[in-house]
Amino acid sequence: MKWYIARRAGASLLTLFIATIVVFIGVRALPGDPAIALSAENPSPKVIQAIRHEYALDKPLPVQYLAWLDHALHGNLGTSPKTGLPVAQTLAERIPITLELTVLAMIIAVAIGLPVGILAAVKRGSLADYLASTTALAGLSVPHFWLGILFILAFAVDLQWLPASGFVPLTDPTANLTHMIMPAAVLGIGLAAVVMRQMRSAMLESLGADYIRTARAKGMSEGTVIGMHALRNSLITVVTVLGLQLGVLISGAVITEQIFVIPGIGKLTIDSVFSRDYPTLQGVILITATGYILANLLTDVAYSLLNPRIRVSGGAA
């Protein structure tokens, strides 16, 4: 078990190291002089020279990379030439907002997807199963940015129940939730479809297992069979799916934040592309990749803890 976690952690570190190289080279591949991109508008030659020296831009590429990595490991992701603020500071302000959005979306996804998936599995072949599966497929097919526009039309314009856009910090929880519920629902509905399908598939596999037949033969009630036995084992798969869907949620957050004008890292990504704020773009990509690798590692560890076969064998099942 410990060896499994150590191996996965080592692989994740290697992946992260290569990802930093990709991010570094990717931003260097952008058009223009990197020294000018790192500076404010209309920099003087003296400023450009100072930037070149600070970021080792006058050295070979591997030395530049090491200098950049050294800065990044010390929390210095550069300064935005557009805002003049440290990139790390901007990210520290924006990441919690996107995290809140993704957590709310996951809660909505689980609240909808789990019970519907269980129902579809228990009532397999029935009208309920057919409706649930078709609705899930429709949920996967509907582009969520279109769903966002529909929600704005219905709940903000027609019914005027919720605000169309904007963000209120958590200092006012009610207003914060009022502003976040629609974008979270937009993000969560697509994930709910994935959770529903995975839950249905996992429950069907569990319900067909020998231990379930034994439980029924022993006279256990159907509720106990489903709730105590089949559901517990099915949740393992769903937990890992939720972890692996984090990347999809972050991708969805990019467009959702743009539609609902939420100042998270998703909107920051788009804004930095169009304003050619390359240090910020570099910082966003690096942080999201790091977070995603970490989330995958934690998901693998959680899966190994939940799955007794991995605990006993000490490796991936």
Binding site: S141, P143, L153, V254, V284
Partner: protein, 292 residues
């Protein structure tokens, strides 16, 4: 001898017709296939179907609702016929989706097959590369690539293809890993067949099923991805008709002209739903475990 030869030539045809019959017994999948065919036909014959040029503006008919005389689905903010733009926009969306998927397949399948066949140092290196690509959330990767390459339909397709490569690599690699110990592969090796013959003549036909199913999943994902990039201004550029750009233009008029936003989104939803229904049906038919 002749009866054995006759049996050998009948079996593939019989298998094909069995699959077709099995597919036809799934009405939802057939509906998906019909939807896909309609979308493809609309894209192919778009200039003949559209009553107007997609960029022809009528400033006397701005934001007119569906059913307006001469404009079946209404007009947009500069008086362009929405039906014509939707029809012509099918081309951009389908082109992006198919191009991205084809690029991904062409690059990823040979790489995955080589990694799965040779193992050695190739497999772990390729696995690390796919892990790195997968470590970037799909849209972040696509936005970053689009920023480097510049906004256009082809660059958006390339960015989407890069994001899809890891999935095809893993499928091809996994299938080859399970096939390389099969007797017919061992026999080909013993007979001295070149590696390319073993991989592409013997193994590739036997891994087509999961690849085809993944293609039916990848195309709608790429269509949505292309629409998102166009919506953000990183894909198809205005005034070219594309569903994503239409949605972007419609956003500010959602209260006064809701059809302007509803129709392109509905086109995207129906297209991806058709592909998903078709893909689900195909997976049910081709999946050996489901059949047993």
């Amino acid at each position: 001898m002749s009866s054995i030869a006759a049996t050998a030539t009948v079996a593939p045809a019989r298998r094909g017709s069995r699959l077709r019959r099995r597919f036809a017994r799934r009405p939802v999948a057939v509906v998906g296939l019909v939807g896909v065919c309609i979308v493809v036909l609309v894209a192919l014959f778009a200039p003949l179907i559209a009553p107007y040029s997609p960029n022809a503006s009528d400033y006397h008919a701005i934001l007119k609702p569906p059913g307006t005389s001469g404009h079946l689905l209404g007009t947009d903010d500069v008086g362009r016929d929405l039906f014509s733009r939707l029809v012509v926009g099918t081309r951009a969306s389908l082109t992006a989706g198919v191009l991205a998927t084809v690029l991904a397949v062409v690059v990823a399948v040979p790489l995955g097959m080589i990694a799965g066949y040779y193992r050695g140092w190739v497999d772990p290196v390729l696995s690390r590369i796919t892990d790195v690509v997968l470590s970037f959330p799909f849209l972040i990767l696509a936005v970053g690539l689009a920023a480097i390459l510049g906004p256009s339909l082809v660059n958006a397709a390339i960015a989407l293809a890069v994001a899809q490569v890891p999935m095809f690599v893993r499928i091809a690699r996994g299938e080859v890993l399970s096939l390389r110990e099969q007797e017919y592969v061992q026999a080909a090796v013993v007979n001295g067949a070149p590696t390319r013959v073993i991989l592409f003549r013997h193994m590739l036909p036997n891994i087509l099923s999961p690849l085809v199913v993944q293609v039916t999943v990848a195309i709608p994902a790429a269509i949505i991805g292309a629409a998102v990039l166009s919506f953000l201004g990183l894909g198809v550029q205005p005034p070219t008709a594309a569903w994503g750009t239409m949605l972007s233009e419609a956003q500010q008029y959602v209260s006064q002209a809701p059809w302007f936003a509803l129709l392109p989104g509905l086109a995207i939803a129906l297209t991806t739903l058709s592909f998903n229904l078709f893909g689900d049906g195909l997976r049910d038919v081709l999946d050996v475990r489901m059949r047993s």
